[in-house]
């Protein structure tokens, strides 16, 4: 099997463009709905998430919780605009309420009122998060800053180890991965109400760190092939390099995805969407390395080499000596 990445590049670009455009469209729609490109969680907008489970030894866990009663309690407390969801975790029934930020007094009043109405809660399963809007801004801005610093660091490193144009196309591939992940999460937010929290920013950074690996491996091969056969056309070289590293790309992505998929399916609630973001990002990452970074590099070299055909020769200097039988 030989993949024709260069010949079919318009197809690969179209697939990426379609996914990214759909994501952007969804971001525009969600901007109109929630004032943000993705459905933001508490971490970013501030508020209180109040999650309790019934104490089954003292209350009836058999029948569903009366959500109307919960809502009436909320209205009594002046928290009518909060959202309520029932949660079921291994036969334990509970509720999850998201409201504006509550003071300690408001929160304990709510807790008392709720347990009077629907039964005693088990304090060991309670989860209460209150985040002020300031913190959300901080998480967001420090996260975005970290993302920019990571981009800059990776670009500088790659332009030192390879060349500037390699680094730029690697950056394009990274932006592609980030856009695909953000876009798909925006769609998930619109369709299934999935929210992004601060772990999502961690996921994006991990994606950036990881998916550049595939690009580097292919670049390494392209550089090596150019050094060995400087007379072959760049299209041919890129095609060969991609195919030579294909088994590796698929296998390493697979081995990384296996634990992630298993965390997504069976892991705890907190890590579920973190794992999903990584799964999407890593798939986008291996795709962009094979089909985007390499094809763009080939197109660019093809165009510029007609003007300056010597550039491939310079590469041999930076290459390691080919004494492959020596020990490390």
């Amino acid at each position: 099997m030989k993949l024709q990445v260069i010949k079919q590049r318009n197809l690969w670009w179209a697939i990426s463009a379609a996914v990214i455009l759909a994501g952007i469209a969804s971001m525009v729609i969600s901007w109109q709905q929630f004032g943000a490109p993705l459905r933001p969680s508490l971490d970013f907008v501030g508020g209180t998430r109040f999650q309790v489970e019934l104490d089954c030894t003292r209350s009836d866990c058999g029948k569903p919780i009366d959500l109307a009663a919960v809502r009436s309690v909320l209205v009594e407390q002046g928290l009518g605009n909060s959202s309520v969801q029932e949660t079921i975790n291994q036969d334990r029934r509970g509720i999850s309420i998201r409201s504006s930020p509550l003071s300690p007094e408001q929160r304990s009043r709510l807790q008392t009122a709720l347990s009077e109405k629907i039964g005693p809660f088990d304090p060991a399963t309670t989860r209460i998060d209150t985040v002020g809007p300031v913190i959300g801004q901080q998480i967001l801005s420090s996260g975005l800053l970290a993302l920019l610093v990571a981009f800059a660091g990776i670009t500088v490193y790659l332009s030192l180890r390879f060349q500037l144009d390699y680094a730029i196309f690697a950056l394009v591939a990274l932006l592609h991965d980030v856009l695909v992940t953000v876009g798909i999460f925006s769609i998930l937010g619109l369709v299934f109400g999935i929210e992004v929290d601060s772990l999502f920013i961690v996921a994006l950074l991990t994606i950036v760190g990881f998916s550049v690996n595939d690009t580097v491996v292919i670049y390494d091969r392209i550089r090596e092939t150019i050094a060995l056969n400087s007379d072959r056309s760049i299209d041919d070289i890129v095609d060969t390099a991609v195919n030579q590293t294909l088994a590796r790309s698929i296998n390493t992505t697979l081995t990384t995805l296996l634990p992630l998929i298993s965390i997504f399916l069976f892991g705890g609630e907190t890590l579920k969407f973190f794992a999903l973001a990584l799964i999407i990002g890593f798939i986008a990452g291996v795709y962009s390395s094979i089909f985007i970074a390499s094809t763009l590099l080939a197109l660019w070299r093809e165009r510029t080499e007609k003007v300056a055909p010597v550039s491939a020769g310079d590469l041999a200097v930076t290459d390691p000596p080919q004494k492959s039988d020596e020990a490390l």
Binding site: G132, L145, Y157, L158, S198, T270, L328
Partner: protein
Amino acid sequence: MQRQRSLLALILVLLIAAIVVIVRIPPRLGLDLRGGSQLTVQVKTTEEVPEITSREMDAVQRVIEDRLNPQGVSEIVVQSAGNDQILVQLPGVNDPKEAEELLGRVAKLEFRKQKPGTEAQLQAEYRVLKELQLQQESLIKGNDQKAIEENKAAIQRSNAAIANLFEPTGLTGENLKDAFPQSTTSQTTWEVGLRFDTKGAALFADLTKNLAGTGRSIGIFLDNELISAPTVGPEFAQTGITGGSAVVTGNFTAQSATTLATQLYGGALPVPVEVVETRTVGATLGQDSIQSSIYAGVGGLVLVLTFMVLYYRLPGVIADISLIIYALLTFAAFNLLGVTLTLPGIAGFILSIGMAVDANVLIFERTREELRAGKTLYRSVEAGFYRAFSSILDSNVTTLIACGALAYLGTSFVRGFAVTLSVGVLTSMFTALTCSRTLLLFVLSFSALRKPGYFCPNLSSTQPQPEATP
């Protein structure tokens, strides 16, 4: 061969050390796993203190620690986060309300003067208050919310009644420079030393001169609550206590002297704080998520290990052994470095195992290529390691760059993730390049295992495969 033997010995020693560390030093679990509360406290500027410096941060941190320690929560963590925030972790605390109230308020320390003719009344009111406070302690154990609230209101009324017996003097915590416990000259009891600034010294001299020998006391109030009521001896009636220093004596033990000094000094803090974030996780919830995530992660890893053996054959087995060594070494490194394991941290760990496979895959793919090109087995293995090195280095460095950005700019738990992932990446470089290589070359020293088919299935058998090692 000699070098290989010593490397093999080194790996064995590291492995044993890692197992000892894992058994001896238990991992530190984050609050999201063991249950508890985490609060972020914002330190605010005031007109007097327009900028928060590390001095203010240290002071606030100390005050928070001192205020929380008497609460009887074990393993409290108080650390600064960023330039003007303090992170407080209270393991096992399911209701952060008390801590939040304690942290959120600005303690105000005041020295007041007892009104004439109230001596008997003060004695009586003080006894009532003590009784109510004792009652409160037993009520809290009984967990009757309603009674607790009622008693609390009574305590507040009692406090207000006491406060009513005193009048302000203008001497406040702002004038107090220091307060410290010290043992008396006889070494048997304790007392609390005070130091005032110039303005405070004058006010204090005035106050003590006024009260000396009258039997009326100085009311030291923290947030309108009387925390101490020392009297002044008649020998100071002429000038008052001058010089800006004073000693509060009484029936102090080392502990009670420390508590009072802390309260006094804490009250002297000029900057207000506000709780801007609280996160509370119940103990069971943490247990649930740790368990399911670990099961899921281990399940995924077993799949990875199986895949490696099925696809890469003998080298796959070697890779699996290195991966297990990797996991043990990394986990030991976490425990040794005192990394707090949080849920994202565990995800970072599981992820790093998936990524550690990457180096092995790169090496084995290269080895296969060399074999297909007709090289001998030994040379192919060597070439695989040599040629894959630059890819492994570059890809790991880029991951480390992203980790660095996260660790440097991220918030606390993000930092935990970045640290675990970087420790993982560094260890994986070692295990992939050293462990896998040494083990593989060791395996190659057995002639029975020196079959190219064990390394690369479907290798075209038309080419003769020389078996000699160099």
